[in-house]
Amino acid sequence: MTMARARTAPAAFSARRVGAMVLRYFYLLRGSWPRVAELIYWPTMQVILWGFITQFFMTHSTWLAQAGGVLIAGVLLWDVLFRSQLGVAVSFLEEVWARNVGQLFVTPLQPYELMLSLACMSLLRTLIGTLPAALLAIPLYAFSIFTLGLPLLAFFVVLVIFGWSMGLAVSGCIMRYGLGAESLAWLAIFALAPLAGIYYPIATLPHWLQPVAWALPMSYVFEGMRAIMIQHLFRGDLILEGLALDALYLILGAATFLGFFRIARRRGLLLQMGE
């Protein structure tokens, strides 16, 4: 049997190759229920914890009494960002742990196709992780984040894109520095958490720190969320500014990944990558 050979050069971009990588990560999730359970576990625990904290503060804080769900909404949206970043970085780490990076890059797979597949998988993992937690908050605390309506979709988009940017930068660092940089996948995003205004307005931060906070897309999301929940005001300007910053960070994240990919090729790191 001789297979008909495709002599023509493959397309520079192939949705089929992106799909193949998504399929590879899907197989991995399908074959491991602890992975799926772990995705759901942390966001659910966070919502339960912050739900009780909210109930307590509702009777002790006039600010919080204005909008009871603001802490739960904050934790859910923060988890969208965290899961999105983790979705990219952990999917890439799966290749490193499996010593599969070298195999992948001798196929026609292009680095940007891998990046796109990591982004697709991140989206899937984020939805698997955060949807059950969001649904659980409805019967437990009579709070539905879906009452935010269409702005919720805009918040989700801004956060997911920033998560991809961070995830790509972290994956690039892992490609360059190996598994020594593995913990960045879990730690990097938390360095930004105090600046994001998840649970408090950006104005709470010291004056000198506020410009740094406003340089991060997620700060616009959390301010926008409070504007809707407390002032019943949709701030489209915040969404647009968040999206503009997202575009910048996505370019930086992708450039970091591609830059480290090139360094890895120059230093011969791709074939050695693994445990």
Binding site: T2, R5, G19, A20, G31, T107, P108, R262, R267, L271
Partner: protein, 253 residues
């Protein structure tokens, strides 16, 4: 490109060098591989075999030199030919948690294989993978895993096959089976094979041409029988030892 336009030299390396800081892993290497030949790359540990293969695959960028594979400049247009190449090496593995069927499906799509399911069925039959096609790859024996790795290396029916330590860690029976399979594959498809190995009997059996590497350089080239005659030895292993020991003596001086 029509099939008749296959360039005579499937691989053409010219003045290839790779330095890692002060260490020169490949030093001014030039060679060509003619279409349909099986060529072995021999040398001791650190001779530069894996580095050369990594450069050929585009996984590693050379410090100097040019690399042409199937008529394309690998440094600039590797994506144009990667679907016509494949490789197998013990230094990389198939994802262990996926089954061979899942792994081959993913790689079949990555290589743009036209009918992936049919291709996997054919490979499963040829390489006797069917009984464990749906078991996690990590639970398979070394012999079964090497057959799966070979199936992955052949999933796109490559015109150029790069094999690094093909039968390392296999028992003699399985290793012999793998060599026989490779001989049949090459005879049927006319593929060009570059084989890096430490197993001299394997090289004598499979390769018509041998490139001897030492300290990053090609120090000799010829058919196994010609090399044996030229060095006045009885086997390729003795030739290998002559060359490797000469390297040790050079280093001592």
């Amino acid at each position: 490109m029509p099939a008749t336009d296959i360039p005579q030299a499937v691989v053409r390396l010219e003045r290839l060098s790779k330095r890692f800081g002060a260490v020169t892993a490949v030093d001014d290497v030039s060679f060509t591989l003619a279409a349909g030949t099986t060529v072995a790359l021999l040398g001791g540990n650190g001779a530069g075999k894996t580095t050369t293969i990594s450069i050929l695959l585009g996984l590693l960028l050379p410090t100097a030199g040019t690399v042409e594979v199937l008529g394309e400049d690998m440094l600039r247009h590797r994506h144009r030919v990667l679907h016509r190449i494949n490789f197998s090496s013990p230094y990389v593995e198939m994802p262990k948690r996926l089954t061979p069927l899942e792994n081959l499906t993913v790689y079949g799509h990555l290589y743009g294989v036209p009918n992936v399911r049919r291709r996997i069925e054919a490979l499963a039959e040829e390489l006797m993978l069917t009984p464990f096609l749906k078991r996690a790859t990590g639970t398979l024996s070394a012999g079964q895993r090497s057959r799966v790795a070979l199936a992955k290396a052949l999933v796109n029916e490559p015109e150029l096959l790069l094999l690094d330590e093909l039968t390392a860690s296999l028992d003699p029976d399985t290793a012999d089976w793998v060599r026989s399979f490779l001989e049949r594959y090459r005879a049927r498809t006319g593929a060009t094979v570059l084989l890096a190995s430490h197993n001299m009997a394997e090289v004598e059996r499979l390769a018509g041409d041998v490139l001897m590497m030492r300290a990053g350089r090609i120090v000799d080239r010829g058919a196994p029988s010609d090399l044996i005659a030229r060095y006045g030895r009885r086997s390729l292993e003795e030739v290998f030892l002559d060359i490797a020991r000469a390297a040790s003596e050079e280093a001592a001086e």
